[in-house]
């Protein structure tokens, strides 16, 4: 339990990479990239955690209470929203690839036709 977030993040990296490498469909590859992003978020949150720490919101808790690191949470929340739009960009590329060539298989799309 002491190293679980780190090992889970490493496993997610492995699974995401495996998905991207063996993918036969561009949409599936995009979703595997989302899994990779989830792994980095998990690692960051695990690094910023603190035993018996509260959330870094001091509305009803005194600011002297031991709170977790707010920097990694701030980085993670902007990353998730930005990731959603970058995934939209990748999916738009997939749509255009399908319209141009009629297939979504990355192996068949490997040859660039002018």
């Amino acid at each position: 339990m002491t190293y679980l977030p780190y090992i889970a993040a490493a496993w997610l990296v492995a699974v995401g990479l495996y998905g991207v490498v063996t993918s036969r469909n561009l949409v599936h590859a995009v979703i595997c990239i989302v899994v990779l992003q989830a792994s980095s978020s998990l690692l960051l949150i695990g690094l910023g955690a603190r035993r018996n720490g509260v959330a870094p919101v001091f509305v009803d808790v005194t600011p002297r209470a031991p709170a977790v690191d707010p920097l990694v949470q701030a980085m993670m929340l902007t990353d998730i929203v930005v990731e959603a739009t970058v995934m939209a960009l990748l999916l738009a590329l997939a749509i255009q690839a399908y319209k141009a060539t009629g297939t979504l298989d990355p192996d068949e799309l490997r040859a660039v036709r002018g």
Binding site: P5, V21, G48, P56, A67, V68, D69, L71, A74, V81
Partner: protein, 253 residues
Amino acid sequence: MSHGLRMLLFACGAAAVLLLLVGAAVQLPPVGAHVTEYGQELNRLAYDERHTTDAVTAVNFDLRGFDTLGEELILFAAVTGVALLLRRQSREREEEHEQARDRDVPGSSDAVRALTLASVLPLVVFGLQLITHGHLTPGGGFQGGVVLATTPLVVFLAGHLGMFHRISPHWLVSAGESLGAGGFAVAGFAGLAAGATYLANVLPLGTTGELASAGLIPVLNVLTGLAVASGFVSLMHSFLEETLELRDRSDRS
């Protein structure tokens, strides 16, 4: 390189990387044992010097505001990229119908329509609350903007594409996005004008816990919420255009 050879190469590389990662992970301090001094200092700064109760928003828009400007420009660029990629090509411009000529689209059921239209007002209010109270409770421009952006989508689910276009016209979405992203960059100059650094918090800080406190942070929250909401609605515009049935110019007989 054949498929099998590629898989073998990937397996070797992945095994090595996984071993390295797990080996490095168990040498880190256990989760929760190490207290980061920078994090504790940020918590203290956010409460004492910036008068916010939400340290995460203070880090996002004040203590590390320049990074958030970069993230927002990434979002802007991605939305622009999607609009560029999915623009209407000249050969597709001919005829577009939302449904096939001689088929009757059933339309949404009464349950879907009731549920979605009943949720429009709570979504708008909740989104606005998240955006404006970002410096008090967990929330902020990014989260509230995404919640606001689901409102036109929910209306689209209840009705049809024409309704979606009517409540979020293109000029409004473009204006919102440009105002949000550009406004963030320009609001940073208020710091330079007051003699401090770019994006410094130079507005009056007020009392902690009030809505009108924390200086420049609520302003940046509102601008970011506007940019994120407009960006997501613009994405939906681009993708929903694809659902229209298009007739290629070549198959006009």
